[in-house]
């Protein structure tokens, strides 16, 4: 089992999609929202995911496939 912290960013119509509900329903993971903000044009949520590594990977790949941007909590750590 593993815990992973990620930041999901939603744009446009994705804002109204119940992505986090589906993450918890369709995958064997527990989702825990720790901080979030939603505006008309963009929304983000910082999420803690608890589950098997492979299941978390699949869940995040599914979210990314829907067009949700998935970043590590630390953001972009590669610097110029």
């Amino acid at each position: 089992m593993a815990i992973r912290r990620v930041r999901l960013t939603f744009e446009g119509e994705q804002i109204t999609d119940p992505v986090i509900y589906q993450l918890g329903k369709d995958f064997e993971i527990i989702t825990n929202i720790r901080r979030a903000e939603v505006h008309a044009h963009v929304g983000w949520v910082i999420l803690e995911l608890d589950g098997a590594e492979a299941e978390i990977d699949m869940a995040l790949a599914w979210a990314a496939g829907k067009g949700v941007r998935v970043d590590p909590l630390s953001g972009d750590v590669i610097e110029g």
Binding site: R34, V42, R69, S74, D76, E79, G80
Partner: protein, 419 residues
Amino acid sequence: MAYASALHCRECGNEYPIAPIHVCEWCFGPLEITYDYDAIGDAISREKIKDGPLTMWRYADLLPVDGENAVDIGTGMTPLLKADNLGRELGIDNLWIKNDAVNPTYSFKDRVVSIAVTKALEFGFDTLACASTGNLAGAVAAHGAKANMRTLVFIPSDLERGKVIGAAIYGPIVIAVDGNYDDVNRLCSELADANQGWAFVNINMRPYYSEGSKTLGYEVVEQLGWKAPDHAVVPIASGSLFTKIWKGMNEFAKLGLIDDVRTKMHGAQADGCSPVAQAFADEQLHVKPVVPNTIAKSLAIGNPADAYYTLKIAQEAEGSTVGSTPDPEIVEGIQMLAQTEGIFTETAGGVVISNLKKLAEAGRFQKGESVVAFITGNGLKTVEAVQHLANPVNIKATVSSFEESVDVEEAVGSKSTSS
């Protein structure tokens, strides 16, 4: 002695003891240093700073480390040059260039890394790490060598050879990771979580690391005769540099070393990676992440960690802006700075100069106002961006061939006309 008393969350305010951590366990917000400003106020003075070393460590009282044990390779106190030639070209009568490209590894990253490595040793780490596409890799490798630490530098496997050598020469373990930017980013983030025994300079050391950028603000104020500039033009990647220059100048004001800061902060991005400029134009405080596509690779951060704090400053400091320019103008900016002031900057500097030009054309600078453009890296790091500009006249090794091929008078005439 260090006057850093704790860490606090920038979002919820929760406090933590000084430790190698970077996010709040409660809300996952970023952590920042808490200083004892009363004690600093008692200890610091203009005279004490002037008597300090001719490096960034003259400001040790305002840094979160013990300056006595600084890992220092001679970083800081870089020249602030009056740029009259460029100023004439752009119609700015009081223009200054802060040339941070002359740091030991040729970029401002030496400032942040010097702090991170000093703090890493204080914490007892023996392993240093970073993920980089250029400047940071060189700075970490050099400081790791000086500190005699095991050093790991993660790079994308398609990184240009010159940049790989710029880090490898200092003897770190260089790991070239296959995959796109996001793959490398994710791997490094996971490795940082899994290897708590490493000082990952911009992850678990980030609260300390980022404070190094404040010294750019301190230096400019001191070099201008203890006065904050009227305008600062600063490149934006993560946004940390922008926020810390602002913080540094305001700390000086808070401590009574200078009058209140009225600087108009101007953030500079490339069109091909301009999430902060776009949010500023839309009057938003949150960015829409982008996939970078620009020659300014040292600024190519599509989802900048400090965008929110950058935008807050830009919106609250009256007259501030965040803008962007296209790649061809970035190249023109590099060329313009080199040909007017004799300073060869990398693409990030081209972003600054092209945005400076745009601001001047928009009439943002009033007569007599001091304008400081921050040049943060050396042009030899990104020669590929300007290599098409080098077109030597090929001649045979004879005087006649020279005379037939080169009209020196015409060349001199054209230079006189353009300058």
